[in-house]
């Protein structure tokens, strides 16, 4: 029996990634990292800033996301996100830009606790990519 399932990552502009031979996906869900294997129960959850790890037969890939929603149903994993970057494509300058933006956001004083938490997360994850 095959252990593969399908993943589809879409952002508002286009279908970012479609893969049929995925073995495991680890997503940074809002309440902690979550690994998804085949025949997982149907689930809807949120993402916080972090790294999506896709393990597939054709190779492993890592993506940095800032937010998103995931839906898993009938062995179809859909990830909707407005900001996603492949970690391998993320060069130093781009990463620096994102980091600067996140740091600026985190240092704002008048933002809500939740927004502050998210911004801090972004900073932490971006720093850890190096």
């Amino acid at each position: 029996m095959s252990e593969e399932f399908k993943i589809e990552i879409v952002n508002p502009e286009k279908s970012f990634l479609v893969k049929e031979d995925v073995l495991e996906v680890v997503v940074p869900a809002f309440e902690g990292e979550m690994g998804i294997l085949k025949d997982h129960i149907s689930i809807i959850s949120f993402l916080k800033p972090g790294i999506i790890k896709v393990f597939s037969k054709s190779g492993d890939e890592n993506y940095y996301v800032e937010d998103g929603i995931i839906e898993f149903k009938n062995n179809n994993l859909s990830i909707l996100t407005s900001a996603i970057f492949s970690v391998t494509d993320l060069d130093k300058s781009k990463q620096g830009d994102l980091l600067k933006k996140a740091e600026a956001e985190a240092s704002k004083s008048e933002i809500s606790d939740q927004a502050k938490y998210l911004a801090d997360q972004k900073v932490e994850v971006l720093r850890s990519i190096n």
Binding site: V10, F30, I44, I69, L80
Partner: protein
Amino acid sequence: MASLDDLKKRIASVKSTQKITKAMKMVAAAKLRRAQESAERGRPYSEKMNNIILNLSNGISDKENAPKLLSGTGENKVHLCVVITSDRGLCGGFNSNIIKKAKSYFSKILNDGKQLKIITVGSKGNDQLKRVYGDKIIENISFKESKNANYFDADKVGRIIIKKFEAGKFDICTIFYNQFKNVITQIPQAQQIIPLNNEEDHNNSDESYEFEPDEDEILSNLLPKNISTQIFKAMLENSASEQGSRMSAMDNATRNAGEMVDKLTIEYNRSRQAAITKELIEIISGAESL
């Protein structure tokens, strides 16, 4: 009758107009392809978003306390209409079609004795609406600097709408835009986004989901995003429609200019011939009289 010189000038001017419309048509065609592609690529996102929300709202346990963005304020007094148009003209009936649709909706609302508020996106819509509904327009947003419709802009509009909703400024929000069907057909649409209208397709899937965190929290985070997504979709459809509409308008203009040039050339040749004939007759009759 116009003199030969005048005719010549007219022909030249129509020809140069034709050149311009032809160039505009080419540009629109090139842009259309890109806009159409991005409109098509953007569809999966909004469809998926809609699906998830549909599944969520089916699964929600406590309908009474559902987020306001989903169920509405329970009142139906103040309508907010977001009219999305283009920033540039010369695109045929594109803007007027949206405005026409919006105006008929406005008068219906006003006849029902409800309050109307308008947000215009794009300067052309603002120009056309401010004459009649100037006092109703509460905001005018324009993205002249942005080359293509992008999510960032849509999110800005979405945030403005949500802020106003949370402040209790309106009960029902409808967006107006042109849906791109093909190059010659664009259908003006009125889509209600607050409260969400899910009545059309109620697929009662028994699929039960696990939620993390719980439904309410997911919904209250997801719904504002959905608003931006819907607006983004509208903007993408709109930009494809705009280019399509401009292309067919400019195609017509080029053809009309061609016809006009033909007509004017015939007229020019006729009057030239007539002048020559007249001169000949004068010479011949002069020679005969000798």
